[in-house]
């Protein structure tokens, strides 16, 4: 059994303290230990973006991080986007524009988009395509995803 380490972190706005195995990735700990299965596992090499979470405002591939790295950090996963069961503007736009087909890539797309909108509330289409360029969608709903991000950005401004 590998060594465990005590970490203190904020996940989806909630302070948490727990032990994690030193060798586990953040993705594994989110999915298997914390039951936050919204972050998805696909390539596990940082290429598909299905596992994207936001740490201190920056989108990260959680499959490439060790869980211990979130000690003292603020983490948002897809489960943290809605408040009290109300979708945020980005989620609502994804839903309204039918951006999700199978949905498997969508949590990662949402997290990359959320991080983009946090740092740039008025993105161009190119900004969106660039920010989401690391999120693969084999259903290829790219046009709908980009449009949804643009709609959400507009909604955020109003």
């Amino acid at each position: 059994m590998s060594e465990t380490i005590h970490i203190e972190t904020t996940i989806n706005g909630r302070d948490r303290a727990f032990e994690v195995a030193a060798n586990l990735t953040l993705l594994d700990v989110l999915r298997d230990q914390l039951g936050l299965t919204g972050s998805k596992e696909c390539c596990v090499v940082g290429e598909c973006g299905a596992c994207t979470v936001i740490m201190d405002g920056i989108p990260m591939n959680s499959c490439l991080m060790l869980a211990v790295e979130i000690d003292g950090r603020d983490v948002i996963t897809v489960e943290g986007l809605a408040t009290d069961g109300h979708l945020n503007a980005l989620q609502q736009a994804f839903l309204d524009l039918s951006a999700p087909q199978c949905g498997f890539c969508i949590p990662g797309q949402l997290m990359s988009a959320h991080a983009l909108l946090q740092r740039n509330s008025d993105p161009t289409i190119d900004d969106v395509n660039e920010a989401l360029g690391g999120n693969l969608c084999r259903c290829a709903g790219y046009l709908q995803i980009t449009e949804a991000v643009m709609v959400a950005a507009k909604a955020g401004k109003e």
Partner: protein, 751 residues
Amino acid sequence: MTSNGLVGSSPNRVGGRDRVTGAQQYVADIHLPNELHAKLVKIEEARARIISIDTTKAAQVPGVRLILTPDDLPHPMPRFGPQYQDRPVLAVGEVKYHGEPVAAVAADTREAAEEAVALVQVEYEALPGVHTIDAALDPDAPLVQDPSSRSGDPFAYSNIRTEFNFGWGDISAVEGEADYVIEREYEFPMVTHFAIEPHAFIAEPDGDELNVWSTIQHPYLLQKILAKMLDLPLSKLRIFAPDPGGGFGGKQHAKLEPLVSYMAMKAGRPVRLVMSLEETFQAVRRSSTRVRVRLGLTSEGDMVFSDIETNYLIGAYVDIADRVAGKSSYVAAGPYRIPAVKIVGRTILSNTTPTTAFRGFGVPQITWARESTLDEAALELGIDRLDIRRRNLPEKGFEFIPGDLPADGDWSQTVDKAAELIGWDTPVPEGRGRGIAIGLKSGPTTGLSYSTVRLLVDGSALIFCGTSDMGQGARTVFAQIVAQEMGIPIESINVIMGDTATVPFDQQTSASRSTVLMGTSVYRACKEIHGKVKTMAARLHGADEVDIEVDSGTVRLTGEELPIVDVVREGLGPLGGEVIGNGEMRKEKEPDHPLAGSAAFFEFNCTAIEVEVDGETGEIQIVKHVTVGDVGTALNPQQVKGQDDGAAIMGLGHTLMEVIIHDDTGRIRNLGAIDYRIPTSKDLPLELISASIENKDGPGPYGVKGISEGSLLCTAPAVGSAVRDATGLVIRDLPLTPQRVWEAMRERDRA
């Protein structure tokens, strides 16, 4: 009554909310108490004789509960497959392709299972294999499958699995009428599905029953296969099939479910196997092809004959590859009026990943060759590429494949629309080129779909059906049909799928069938409810049933119109309850038909492309991409566009970048996302237009036809045609990578 969710509108996707909150549960998200984690033992060879498997060290890893080797399975080794029972649960005696599992470990944790896998010692002797068409057809080639397992098969002593012969007319009789004959050969590479959700399976023994969770598209076919292998009654084998995270055909048929089931039964505990993306690459791919087209035309461009030979390089086990090859070869001549056609198709076994269904079901490969050859002919004859297609298109109702469904649409409308949207008649801007191509695929040839609709006392409804919603939006469309027919808001409808103990039988989710076949079944279930409501209304109002009409949410009595739900609420009385309707849609086998069934409908698409080719790098920029499909009726226009856009972009994948690369011994060199590229948001056409032709002339409810595959059928030839138009280069192999285009340019400049 609300108009929300009616047929022809685009309500929010049913199941969409869970897809944006992360609540949607895919197989890998499901955990069972006491579960074990399985990992596969594989060797780094494409073909090898297994000498021994030593599990001693692996068994000592703490937490390891089970190591399954072929010796632990019944003798002879159980085999399975949708067409032939040729795939063993574990490789037996010989590994036949790179990544074929030779053993498996189940442990308390993933880490323990991984550690143990590394300690299983497999002694083997590498053997020469075949992984190209030429190598497999060499008379001295090693045989992929043991001839003794193919007794009575004339090809048993070769790597040819099956030969298909289709056609009509007599080429030799009409050959003289052709002023011009062209013969070309085109290649289509190996590509893989790359659904973002890797395949995952869980099996749980439960007394004398077995529960299996799978990312499968066809839960009922899986149930049939497992029940037979495990000798269980269907009633004791329950398949849970949560919505797959993308299927595209790769998840149609059983893969490792038998292995995981044997492991769970042996361990007496639930066993889960979540495959890696690399392992998923080693489980599914599209057949690569070499297609030769010989086409005879008059000098005006009328087709006289078409003589086509298709070769599909399939894997070591057949899976559904023979059907893919047969069904796509059958339509190889395309949607044209041709007096004489001869088609010879062939599947060729090789020591490569077993090939399976993949969006388009063999048609993209064939279409690349046919449409590109037609283009070359048009150029040589000096005929416009649009005109040569237009003049050979059949009129609606014309039996262009004798004995099959006649042309089921006014296809010239589709072609004209694509031409108009690309601006075919306008001058091509400097440095660019345009191309156009047509794709045709036959829809399902058989079908059986049952459904149940329960209209509840409060006016809400439940739909039970065995379709898999893997992104195409089946739930939404079925809910729209019920919303329309019952006159209730779509938000009050729940669609239950993915559990064989709960939903009635459905043959499968494939061939863009579900809206047409299951849609008809759901529509009929609604009609049964209408009948019961009519009886109810007659009783309540003392009227004669013949004077009552029930339709689209409304009960019409003489002088009065009432919402169905009001009649039902009153009619059910104080005890409440519900009105249940059952639907059934059958498309029977036709034993005399070459495919054992004519097409339920055709998917007809025309794609037009404008490109710019970088003269320095060979890079192709898709400036404009137009795809038009004949959909009959768009029940949900937003979802139709989503499917068309998605398929079009997927088509750009195999056209521009995707290819599986093998080394000399047949090992895959580009396993996984780093080295196998698929389109991203940065690879899109500058402009993508998906349009539909709607004449309400499909066989499904409200005149719907199947969609979802159309817009990738002819992406490659349309792009190839545009590249040729821009550069003069004829490239007969895919993908059209910058390197390939650059090399072709360099060769041209040298010449």
